[in-house]
C-alpha cells in the first residue's frame, strides 16, 4: 500500500520547517521526512535567529519559542596574532518590544519549530533517510524512496530542504556535486558559564541582552574564513569556519584553528573558567549567487542551504532558509488552489517570488565577493596586521614625534601589501564587488 501526499518535504531544518508549516497551515496534506533521531538533531548553526523571517511565518513566535538573548551589541573585530581592532555598535534601540535578532540554541529551537509544524497539521517521520527521488516515464518527480521497507511514498511535489550536502538532489541528477570552494567547514564549541558571569563579562544590563562578535583576520590563518562568538543565556558559542578548498590546501586541522582562536589574548578572558559542553562541525554553502543550482523542475523545488542560499558576507543563512521555504510553500499552495500542476513552467511563480525578495537581491549584489576573497587572501592577513601595527604606533607614547609616526604608519600599510598600487587595487576590487 503506497500513500500519496500533496507535498513531501525532505528535511526538518529551518527551510523544510518553513515550507511544511506554510503548506500544512493552508490545508495541504504534507509529509515531512528527516533522517535525524529527532527533528533537528542533525542541524547546526552559530546561531543567530533573524526575527523578521520567522515573524512572517509565525507572527507570535516570541511568546513561545525558546530564545536565548536578543542582540543589543555587535562587535566586529580585525584579529591579529596578539591584538584586535574593533568596531562596536550598541544601541538601546535594540531593547525594543519586538527585538530584531536573537541568539538561540538550535537543539531547542528546532524541536519547538518542528512542534509548530506538526500542530499545523503536517505529518513528520524521523530516522528515515530519503535515498532517491521517484520519477515517471516523462522524468517528472512523483515521490521519494527511503531507507525503510514498504516502497516509495508519492506526492505532487517534493520540496528539497535537505541541507548543504544535498545528496538526494545530486543522486537524482537534479544538481551537480558541491565544489570545495563553494563550501565552508565550520567548527563550534558551546561553553557553559553562569548567567551572571556572561552578563558581567559583556557588560549586559538587561537579563536577556546579548552581544555577538564577528571576527576576521588571523582567526582564519590565511584562509578565506571568519570566526564568531555569541552570548547565550548561560553559555557562549564560539566557532570558526573556512573554505573546504583552503583546508585541503593548507592541511590545517579545524580544531587547531578554533584552539588558537580560543587562546587569543582578546578571547581567552571571555571564556575563562568556562566548561565546554558541546563540540560540533558543519558545512556552510558559501558559493553565493553564482553557485546556486537549478531550483525547480517538474514536481520538485529546492530551498534553503541545498540551494546555496547563504549570505556569507553578512553571516545570514537561516533567514534565507526560512524565507525560501516559505516562498516555495506559498507558491505550491497557490498552484494547488488554482488547480495547476506543479511543473517547471508553473514554478516560475517561486522563481519570481525569489527574485523579488531580499534573498536573490542580496546574493546578486555580492555575487563577485566569493571569487574575490578566494583569489585575494591578503585581505585576511595583510590588512588586519597593518591596521594593528599602525594603531599601536599611533597609541604608543615613546618620544617619537607625531609626523614621523604618521609616515611610519603609512609605510607599514604599504609594506603589508607590497606597494600602494596593491592597496589601491584591493580597495577598488572590494568596492566593485560590494556595489
Amino acid at each position: 500500500m503506497s500513500e500519496h501526499f500533496d507535498a513531501i518535504v525532505v528535511g526538518a531544518g529551518p527551510s523544510g520547517n518553513a515550507a511544511a508549516y506554510t503548506m500544512a497551515k493552508a490545508g495541504l496534506n504534507v509529509l515531512q521526512i528527516d533522517r535525524g533521531e529527532y527533528p533537528g538533531s542533525k542541524n547546526v548553526q552559530g546561531a543567530i535567529l533573524y526575527a523578521d523571517a520567522l515573524e512572517r511565518i509565525i507572527p507570535d513566535f516570541r511568546e513561545h519559542a525558546p530564545l536565548e538573548r536578543h542582540v543589543v551589541e555587535q562587535r566586529m573585530w580585525l584579529l591579529d596574532e596578539k591584538s584586535h581592532t574593533g568596531a562596536h555598535y550598541r544601541s538601546d534601540d535594540f531593547n525594543e518590544d519586538k527585538p530584531n535578532r536573537y541568539t538561540i540554541l538550535r537543539a531547542q529551537f528546532d524541536k519547538w519549530f518542528s512542534r509548530q509544524v506538526r500542530a499545523a497539521g503536517a505529518l513528520l517521520i524521523t530516522e528515515t533517510t530519503v535515498t532517491n527521488l521517484v520519477k515517471d516515464d516523462a522524468g517528472r518527480v512523483i515521490g521519494v524512496e527511503t531507507d525503510r521497507e514498504g516502497g516509495p511514498i508519492y506526492a505532487d511535489v517534493v520540496v528539497l530542504g535537505e541541507g548543504v550536502n544535498a545528496l538526494v538532489g545530486q543522486n537524482a541528477g537534479l544538481r551537480p556535486e558541491l565544489k570545495p570552494q563553494h563550501v565552508a567547514l565550520a567548527v563550534k564549541e558551546t561553553h557553559f558559564l553562569p548567567e551572571q558571569t556572561v552578563r558581567d563579562r559583556f557588560n549586559l544590563a538587561g537579563e536577556d541582552d546579548g552581544v555577538v562578535i564577528e571576527v576576521v583576520g588571523s582567526v582564519s590563518s590565511g584562509m578565506v574564513g571568519t570566526g564568531f562568538l555569541y552570548t547565550n543565556k548561560e553559555s557562549i558559542s564560539i566557532g570558526v569556519g573556512c573554505l573546504i578548498s583552503d583546508f585541503a590546501e593548507t592541511c590545517i586541522p579545524p580544531y587547531e584553528l578554533l584552539d588558537n582562536f580560543k587562546s587569543h589574548p582578546s578571547v581567552a578572558p571571555l571564556l575563562k573558567g568556562s566548561e565546554m559542553k558541546e563540540y560540533v562541525a558543519h558545512l556552510i554553502p558559501e558559493g553565493g549567487y553564482n553557485a546556486i543550482p537549478r531550483l525547480t523542475g517538474d514536481g520538485w523545488v529546492i530551498i534553503g542551504d541545498a540551494g546555496q542560499f547563504v549570505n556569507a558576507v553578512h553571516r545570514e543563512g537561516s533567514n534565507l532558509a526560512m524565507t525560501t521555504g516559505r516562498l516555495a510553500g506559498e507558491s505550491i499552495v497557490q498552484l494547488k488552489a488554482e488547480r495547476k500542476p506543479i511543473t517547471e513552467a508553473n514554478l516560475k511563480l517561486y522563481r519570481d517570488k525569489l527574485a523579488d525578495s531580499f534573498v536573490m537581491k542580496d546574493l546578486k549584489k555580492y555575487r563577485r565577493i566569493p571569487a574575490l576573497l578566494e583569489r585575494n587572501k591578503q585581505l585576511f592577513t595583510a590588512y588586519p596586521k597593518a591596521m594593528s601595527q599602525a594603531l599601536q604606533m599611533f597609541l604608543r607614547v615613546d618620544g617619537t614625534d607625531k609626523r614621523s609616526k604618521e609616515s611610519a604608519m603609512m609605510r607599514s600599510v604599504k609594506r603589508a601589501r607590497g606597494s600602494w598600487l596593491g592597496v589601491a587595487t584591493d580597495m577598488f576590487k572590494l568596492m566593485r564587488a560590494w556595489r
Partner: protein, 291 residues
Amino acid sequence: MDAPETPTDGLNIVVCIKQVPDSAQIRVHPVTNTIMRQGVPTIINPYDLFALEEAMRLRDQYGGQVTVLCMGPPMAEDALRRALGLGADKAVLITDRRFAGSDTLATSFALATALTRLGADHPVDIVFTGKQTIDGDTAQVGPGIASRLELNQLTYVSAIDTLDQGKGEIVVRRRAEGGVQVLKSKLPCLITMLEGSNEIRRGSVADMLRAARAELTVWSAEEAGVEDVMMCGLRGSPTVVKRVFAPSARDEQAEMVTVEGKQPAQIGDAIIDLIFAAQPKLEADLSAALN
C-alpha cells in the same frame, strides 16, 4: 479514554517501556549540580527495546497484538510513538501529576493497575519489561508488577524456546549465576529481557506513518483504574533520595601523542615507547618473554 481494542484471538502482549534521558548526552549543571534536562534528548530505555522486539516476534509467529504501556509525563508520548514506529500495535500512556515522584514501588503499582484494566476484556498473556532502566538501574519494577498481579516472573531471559498456546506454557532460557536455566512456566507470566538477546527491527514506511498519525490512549490515574492515589507518586514512595551529586572527575590524565608522519607503524611505535617509558617493568617482562 477507552482501552484500546484487544485481540479476539492470538496473544495479548503488553510491553512496559520507560522514557529516559539519553545518558550519552546528559550534562550536569556546573553550578547547581542537577541534571540539565532541557535540551537533552530522550530515548526509550535501551533494555526495553529487547523486550519490545521479543514481544513482536511472538506476535508475528503466533498472532495477536503488542501494546506498549508507559507511565510518565505527557512528553513520554514521543517514546510511545517511537515504539509504534518500530512496529508495536497499540500505545497507552498513563500520565497524571499525582504519579510524579514515583519510586519503583509506586511505579509498579500504577503499571500493574493499568495492566489490569488492559486485560479486562481479554486477559494479558505476557507482560514484558527490559531487565532494568538506565536511569534508575534498580531492576525492581518488572518483578514488582509480577508480584502485584501474581504472575510467574521470568527475569533476565535471554531467549524464548517455545510457546504452547493450547497448554498455555512457555519455555525460556534465563541467565543465572554460573550458567543458563531452562524454565517452563504457565501463562500468564512476566518476562524481563536481557540485553543482546535480539536486535530491534526497523519499522516500515507504513509503521512510521501509522505511528505519526496514531491517536494514543492517554489515561489519568482514575482512568487507569487507580482507586487509592495515596499509593501513587511521592506519597506512595517510601524511597527517599538523600542527595544527588555529580561524581568528581577522576584524575587519570589523557595524553595526546603527536607523531611525525602518518604511517601506522610509526604511530604504533610512538605509543609503545610512551607506554614503556611509563612502565619499565612491562618492557623488561615482555622482552624477557620474547627472548
